[in-house]
């Protein structure tokens, strides 16, 4: 089983530097009992086998980057972590996704309630067009019928955490669509945070944004990782090295995508175990 996070972090000033190897695997698992883990995960679209036997642990309160060339199944993998995969009509899966130690695919799990704990930010900024900025932030609370009274407080807190509060505090009733692309994406992050997820999945959240906005989002991700677990799919190697604490490298050689290697980001970029990882992070293919 690939285990990322057999190392504990002591310093996280810029989210990358960390102390190496301190705890044994077993105690690390016990300590991380609230984390996210996949066991023997497979995915199919129809008869097309797209992911094979993925075993991966996501350390809590850190950023794990999923990297790999197009078509290696990393986005599919991400969507299996909150059961969005099952909305595609021909999609099938096998294996387990353990959250807090229990399988989110077990029949007695309410998928909608589970997704409250696992937020998601998509590639393209997609605030709800018919809603104001404020309504967008509160959309999840309304959707899930959560009983909360301190709406204004939540709006301010979430927008602040997403790094957008200062820019929009005077126009909370403007349409979400009136913001710039980068602001819209941060609004989408704020929207996911409002239901207080413990895990946030991000599917190439910066690929549609300009470099300035990308930097803002990356700062936001660093701050978020102090409290929640972030999993981010990215095509951009610089971004992976800047933003993630751990990296998982996926690859498909024509067949189903497999997990080649997962480790601390610094190790993945400087001294990976597998030569294919080295070739990929050095830009020799992909």
């Amino acid at each position: 089983m690939n285990q990322v996070g057999t190392e504990s972090k002591t310093s996280k000033e810029n989210g990358i530097i960390m102390n190496e190897i301190s705890t044994s695997g077993i105690t690390a698992v016990a300590e991380r009992s609230l984390g996210l883990e996949t066991r023997g995960l497979h995915a199919w679209f129809g008869s097309h086998h797209v992911l094979s036997d993925i075993n991966l642990q996501f350390p809590e309160r850190s950023v794990t980057g999923l990297i790999g060339p197009s078509g290696c199944g990393k986005s599919t993998f991400l969507r299996m972590l909150n059961r969005m995969h099952e909305f595609i009509p021909s999609a099938a899966m096998a294996g387990e996704v353990l959250m807090n130690g229990s399988d989110i695919y077990s029949p007695d799990v309410d998928a909608a309630a589970m997704r409250l704990k696992v937020g998601m930010v998509f590639q393209k900024p997609n605030p709800f067009p018919a809603m104001t900025i404020k309504e967008n932030v509160l959309a999840g609370i309304k959707l899930a019928n959560l009983k909360v009274s301190n709406h204004d407080e939540i709006v301010e807190k979430c927008l602040s955490r997403a790094g957008l509060w200062k820019e929009v505090k005077d126009r909370l009733d403007a349409s979400g669509g009136s913001l710039s692309g980068g602001q819209q994406q941060r609004l989408c992050i704020a929207r996911s945070l409002a239901v207080e997820p413990t895990i946030l999945l991000m599917d190439e959240p910066c690929s549609a944004l300009d470099p300035g906005s990308t930097l803002r989002i990356e700062e936001t991700i660093h701050e978020l990782a102090e409290k929640i677990t972030v999993v981010i799919v990215t095509h951009n190697m610089q971004q992976a090295s800047r933003v993630s604490n751990y990296c998982a490298f996926f690859l498909s050689d024509g067949g189903p995508g497999v997990l080649v290697e997962a480790d601390a980001t610094r190790k993945m970029f400087t001294n990976p175990t597998d030569t294919r990882t080295a070739d990929y992070v050095q830009g020799k293919f992909g």
Partner: protein, 312 residues
């Protein structure tokens, strides 16, 4: 800047322009024809033509003067159409949502093609079905409504006869326009951006939550457009109403009572035996219906544009 088009482009442009102009021209000519033939009536009757309740051809010797007015028919047109919309719109929205979001994918395409087929059924069959099959059931519903809601003026019925009422005609019209409204609604719902629906699910929303938060607001203008198409059909419906309603020249807003009519069925009823002067009155009635339909369509366009603007 002067743009130079190639010969092929110029010819193509002429052809499509001609097509666009022709359809507008035909519309204008129909309106003009109806107005020209009916203008004498408008002059003779004034505004009473659209408010009065008397339709008499008069005697040939002129002792009994001819008098034409379509008040009850105009009201009947609007009442039956509104009843039809009242039942058809919620039903269509529900049907469209079912097909798009709940139907098993195996039967979805069958349902869609059946729906389009149903939209093309001639209204005559709806009329016949209404008379032969639905009327008896509709009468029972009407009797029940009257029993429990009879205190409300709209549902008052003192005669205890429930057949051939605007209520039943409206229900048959509803059945007639459900397919077209469902078809249009389903089409716009299917165009809801996938990523918006996905974000609802990702936020812990249920399917109903996603529909309420994203699909319904997104499709609103399209549904209004579909409803207006249906309303257009209901307003102009001739045969079904002709078969289902007794033509009575009295304002009837007790929709469960057996009196009514609409402009189109009035024209169909009177046309065969009309005197030359009465014929003009019928064409004038046609002009009023023409204006009504045009107004409804323009209002609908305005609504659609306004919601579309609010969304962008």
């Amino acid at each position: 800047m002067h743009v130079v088009y190639s010969l092929g482009d110029r010819i193509f442009r002429r052809i499509v322009t001609a097509g666009a102009v022709t359809s507008l021209l035909v519309l204008a000519l129909i309106g003009l024809f109806l107005f020209a033939r009916g203008v004498e009536i408008f002059r003779d009757m004034g505004t009473k033509f659209v408010t009065g309740t008397n339709w008499t051809a008069g005697s040939e010797d002129g002792v009994l003067p001819a008098e034409f007015s379509i008040g009850p028919m105009l009201a009947g047109t609007i009442v039956t159409s509104l009843i039809a919309l009242f039942f058809a719109v919620p039903l269509s929205i529900a049907g469209a949502l079912y097909i798009e979001f709940f139907a098993p994918s195996k039967i979805k395409s069958t349902l869609v093609s059946m729906l389009d087929l149903a939209a093309a059924i001639p209204s005559l069959f709806f009329g016949l079905w209404g008379v032969q099959v639905f009327s008896s059931m509709g009468e029972r519903w009407a009797a029940l409504t009257s029993n429990y809601l009879g205190w409300f003026p709209l549902f008052k019925n003192e005669l205890d006869i429930f057949g051939r009422s605007p209520f039943i005609a409206g229900l048959v019209l509803a059945a007639m326009i459900v397919p077209i409204i469902t078809s249009v609604s389903r089409e716009v719902y299917s165009r809801t951006p996938r990523e918006l629906v996905d974000s609802c699910y990702a936020l812990g929303g249920t399917r109903w939550g996603a529909i309420r938060a994203v699909v319904l607001p997104y499709g609103r203008s399209g549904v209004v457009g579909g409803a207006m198409l249906g309303l257009g059909r209901a307003l102009g419906e001739t045969v079904a109403v002709y078969l289902l309603l007794n033509l009575v020249f009295k304002y009837n807003f007790n929709i469960l009572e057996s009196e009514g009519g609409n402009i189109a069925s009035l024209i169909a009823t009177k046309f065969g035996e009309a005197t030359p002067y009465e014929l003009k009155a019928l064409l004038a009635a046609g002009f009023v219906l023409f204006l009504l339909t045009l107004t409804v369509n323009m209002a609908a366009t305005a609504v659609v544009q306004r919601t579309a603007k609010a969304q962008s």
